[in-house]
Structures are given as C-alpha cells and as structure tokens.
C-alpha cells in the first residue's frame, strides 16, 4: 500500500503516562484517562452540588438525572434491597459512561476498549454478585444451578449447562463492552485511513472524494455517542440483574 496509512490499532497501545513518574510506577496513558474520568465525575458532582437549589440549574439537573436514573435502575431490577448496592452500581456506571465518552475525544485514551480493563470490571461484578449470593443464602446458593421442575435424570446434563451459563457472565459482560468500543474506534481510523489513501492516490479529486468517508465518520460519531451511553447502561443493568439473581436466586 503506497502513501501514508493509519494503523487503526495503534490508538490502543499503552504508553507510560505522567511523564517520567508514570514509567517508574507503571502508570499508563490508560490510567490517565481513568483518572480524568474520575476527576470529571467528581467535578460534575461538585458543580451539581454548588447551588443545591429547589429548582435545579443545569449542572444540578444533570447530576440529579443521573442519580435518579441509576437509583430507579437499582430499585426496579434488584428490588428495594438494591439500594444497598446503589453507590457501587453508580460508580461503575459513571466510570464506564464517562470513560466511553472521553474516549471519543481526540487524544483521549478509550480505556474501555481494553479487554483487561473490561474483564477486570466484569470479574469484579461477577465475584461480587456471587459473594453476595453466598452471603445471603449460604450454601443454599448452589441450588441456583439446579433448575426447578425438571426430572432428576436430566440434572447431570442441566447442571453443567447452568454452571457454564453462569460462568460465561463475566466473559460476555466484558467482551461486549470491549468489542463495541474497540470496533467503533477502529472503524473511525479505517475511514480516516481511506481519506488519506484517496488523497494520496488521486490528488485533488481524491481529496474531494474523501468527503464520503468523512461523512461516514460524522455519522459514526453520532452512533458512537449512542453506543457509549448504551454500553454503560447495559453494563450497569446487567450488574443489577446479576445482583438480583444473587439476592433473589431466580
């Protein structure tokens, strides 16, 4: 391939962040983005809590909207007990949402497009919900893997299926987020690469023709904005769902 190209995957490569300090403590550009996400969330809360008005301003309305949204999600999915897990679910939701969103900006690292990150999050959710299950039900939680109303001779077949289904949760949870975020960012770079290729190959005509991939990228930006919110929502609602299973066992 002649001319300049873009390596669509280079954007995901990790480099030490924070200058020399990052090299010493293995603090990567991904962690910088995480720190930025946490800082943004804190700043949004600070802005939203400045007025504490009866009739909320813009920042306060945003924070209250997020609060009510996640709270309702917890209560609707888990039940009233869900309020215990509300801060945790909110933290996960806000962290992923802001992470996804700032990942869409140029020069910002999309840490949710790293399988190590999403798998760690998913494993935490998985282990936590399993822990909650055993904490609430003791060893009776094992009966979660025994489907009710099934003849006994089928159980040796069904129990492994249930266990595998259960164990696949962290995998599907993490791969979904990782794949969606990665695919969006890769496609952006691929279309941008098209633009470079067109211009290099066909000169001025190519430059005009690259309006098409540019338009696609604009449309993709809108889609990615949607996906960023949706994936954070799906991750959070599945977290709630798993916690529901752990608390109610069905």
């Amino acid at each position: 391939m002649a001319g300049p190209t873009i390596n669509a995957l280079e954007q995901f490569s990790l480099t030490p962040g924070l200058g020399g300090l990052g090299k010493a403590i293995d603090f990567s550009n991904s962690n910088e983005a995480m720190l930025a996400a946490a800082a943004i969330i804190t700043l949004i809360f600070g802005a939203g809590l400045k007025a504490r008005a009866l009739v909320p301003g813009r920042a306060q309305a945003l924070v209250e909207l997020l609060y009510e949204f996640v709270r309702n999600m917890c209560v609707d999915t888990i039940g009233e007990e869900g309020l215990r897990f509300f801060p945790l679910v909110f933290t996960i939701f806000a962290f992923i949402l802001i992470g996804n969103l700032i990942g869409l900006f140029p020069y910002f690292f999309a840490f949710t497009s790293h399988i190590a990150v999403t798998l760690a999050l998913a494993l935490f959710v998985f282990l936590f919900s399993t822990g909650v299950g055993f904490y609430t039900h003791g060893f009776k939680f094992f009966t979660f893997f025994v489907p009710s109303g099934v003849p006994g001779w089928l159980l040796p077949l069904l129990v492994p299926i249930e266990i595998i289904s259960y164990l696949s949760r962290p995998v599907s949870l993490s791969v979904r987020l990782f794949a969606n975020m990665t695919a969006g960012h890769v496609m952006w770079e691929v279309f941008a690469g098209f633009m470079l290729l067109l211009t290099a190959s066909f000169g001025i005509f190519g430059a005009f023709a690259s309006v098409v991939p540019l338009g696609l990228n604009v449309a993709l930006a809108a889609l990615e904005l949607l996906v960023a919110g949706l994936q954070a929502y799906v991750f959070a609602i599945l977290t709630c769902l798993y916690l529901h299973d752990a608390v109610h066992m069905h």
């Binding site: 009510e68 309702n72 999600m73 209560v75 609707d76 077949l157 492994p160 299926i161 249930e162 595998i164 289904s165 164990l167 696949s168 949760r169 995998v171 599907s172 791969v175 979904r176 794949a179 969606n180 949706l230 994936q231 929502y233 799906v234 609602i237 599945l238």
Partner: protein
C-alpha cells in the same frame, strides 16, 4: 353558589399535585421499560452471550483434559454443552 366551579377546579388541581408528588418514582420507572429500549438492550447482548458460553465450555473442557490426561475428549464433550448453555443465555436474555 358562585364560587362552586372555581372551588372544584382548585380541588382537582390540588389532588393532581398530590398524586404527582406521591407517584413520581413508579411513573418514571415505567417509562424506562420501553420496548424499543429492551430491543436495543437485547441486541447488545445477543452475539456475545452465545460466544461467551462456548468459550467457557471449551476452556473447562480443556482444563479437565489437562487434569485427567484425556485429551481431547472433555473438550469435544463440552462443545455441545457450551452450545446449549449459549442458547440458555439467549433465552434468559430475552425472557
């Protein structure tokens, strides 16, 4: 009396305001469970649920083979089990 209609209107408004203040939560909750939202939520889960169950099943099979030196039988046995588990995941996601 002349103030009868005004009185009734005020009564109705007060009642409505009280209802709204009380029922704020369930109303928004119901709005959330739109069918379009459920379809998109489902879309985000479908493909992955299937693959994830498969991956887990094969990994377990591989581990058992390693443990009992029965390569490759457990892995082969686990493939259909993983498939069924994937379908089970899908059904659960839709239900």
């Amino acid at each position: 009396m002349k103030d009868g209609r005004d009185n009734a209107a005020f009564e109705a408004r007060l009642e409505a305001a009280e209802q709204a203040a009380k029922a704020e939560r369930p109303e928004t909750a119901q709005k959330q469970a739109g069918s379009a939202q459920r379809a998109i939520e489902l879309a985000m889960r479908l493909g992955v649920e299937m693959v994830a169950a498969m991956v887990i099943a094969v990994v377990i099979g591989w581990g058992l083979d390693k443990l009992f030196h029965t390569k490759p039988w457990f892995m082969i046995l686990m493939v259909p089990v993983g498939l069924v588990a994937g379908v089970r995941n899908l059904l659960r996601a839709m239900g």
